[in-house]
């Protein structure tokens, strides 16, 4: 069965996401390695994914960036070529190549994606899809990029997670610019 791997790209030490327009957002995207991610392992991780899943808002903003304003971004070709699934009950049509719309029950749609092979599915967010998947306890692995930053404002990603959600630490690695790459597996 395929694993669901949730990626959290911009996470502060106080548990907040970098929301657009905040100081934290500016801090994150002023770093060259965030603007132009070129770590081969990360690119391979994305390229080898069976599918990329997103909520509607995340899908629309990523689609717009990767097909119009940031076509030279290192993720653009990978994501355009990759299988994408948008979780939405309202979206009627998706223009970006290789996209399907999952409008049914979230658990059933995810289950269908997971069956029939190994490998991994990347969960991009946004926060709504994230929280649904956490509540359903469908996330197998978390990859968090922890920034050396106490943000004070932003979206509290893990609000409302099921109580005492235990994880196994797989690895924690110091990266450039004080970023710590954390990898956790859901303890089952």
């Amino acid at each position: 069965m395929r694993k669901l791997i949730a990626t959290v790209f911009n996470y502060s030490l106080d548990g907040l996401l970098a929301d657009e327009g905040t100081e934290f957002w500016k801090f994150v995207f002023d770093l060259p390695e965030i603007r132009e991610p070129d770590d081969p392992a990360q690119l391979d991780f994305l390229r080898s994914a069976y599918a990329h899943i997103m909520g509607r808002t995340a899908y629309e903003s990523i689609a717009e960036a990767m097909t119009t304003t940031a076509t030279d971004h290192p993720f653009a070709d990978i994501l355009t070529a990759g299988r994408k699934v948008v979780f939405s009950r309202t979206l009627k049509a998706a223009e970006w190549a290789n996209t399907t719309i999952a409008a049914g029950d979230t658990a059933e749609e995810v289950d269908e994606l997971r069956q029939g092979g190994d490998g991994h599915i990347v969960v991009w967010g946004g926060v709504g899809l994230w929280r649904s998947l956490m509540e359903l306890d469908l996330i197998d692995e978390l990859r968090v990029s922890l920034f050396p930053y106490v943000a004070g404002e932003g979206t509290r990603l893990f609000d409302g997670v099921p109580k005492s959600y235990r994880l196994d630490l797989v690895s924690s690695t110091a990266s450039s610019s004080g970023i710590v790459e954390l990898q956790y597996r859901r303890h089952r």
């Binding site: 106080d14 548990g15 922890l146 050396p148 099921p162 959600y165 994880l167």
Partner: protein, 199 residues
């Protein structure tokens, strides 16, 4: 130069205790390995069982700290450590009022009632060339707000709590930009140590 270092175990989502003030989840790593680490005090000492990297890290931290600074809540939760902090260093408690029956004769636990700056100053002089360890969410917040911290040391526990007591709450001046951390990977815990940029 004496450093002032916040020391705290925290969940990945930023909590140092659960909604019932419980710390079992964030302290789980103290009991998840097979290397014994005993704390220094003969009377209030504890023995932990941690992984090898965590053991090295804990021993280093204990050797480094020459005085502890905590709040009243930590003091109460620990029953005053029987009058002697487990790390066998003088402990300074920031409080409005000295609790009844304290200070006790022969105890190295002392009380500071005239504010955080004074408490840090007293702990500093007791620590001598060693570091001052600051423990407790509220006390750490006061130190951050007063610009008194040199480093933040977090034992990042592999658990999400969803609610509870937040470490980085009630901060006056956010964002706080930290320096590059040192990273030690243990079992179920990542030991992170960040320099605090004071500007």
């Amino acid at each position: 130069m004496t450093k002032v270092v916040a020391i705290m175990s925290m969940s990945l989502d930023g909590y140092v205790a659960d909604a019932n003030d419980g710390v079992d989840e964030v302290f789980d790593w103290y009991f998840s390995g097979d290397v014994e680490v005993a704390t220094a005090s003969a009377t209030s000492g504890m023995t932990f069982h941690v992984s090898a990297p965590s053991a090295d890290h804990l021993r280093g931290l204990q050797a480094e700290v020459g005085a502890m600074l905590t709040g009243r809540r930590t003091f109460e939760a620990a029953d005053g450590w029987g009058g002697q902090h487990p790390w066998d260093v003088p402990a300074f408690i920031v409080t409005h009022q000295v609790p009844e029956g304290w200070p006790r004769p022969g105890s190295t636990v002392q009380f500071v009632t005239d504010g955080i700056e004074s408490a840090v100053a007293r702990a500093r002089s007791a620590a001598g060339p060693k570091s001052v360890g600051v423990h407790g969410a509220q006390t750490i917040q006061q130190c951050v707000n007063a610009g008194l911290l040199d480093e933040i040391h977090i034992d990042l526990a592999a658990v999400l709590l969803g609610e509870g007591v937040r470490l980085f709450d009630h901060l006056a001046n956010t964002p706080v930009v930290l320096g590059d951390p040192t990273v030690v990977a243990g079992v179920g815990v990542t030991h992170l140590r960040y320099p605090v940029h004071t500007s």
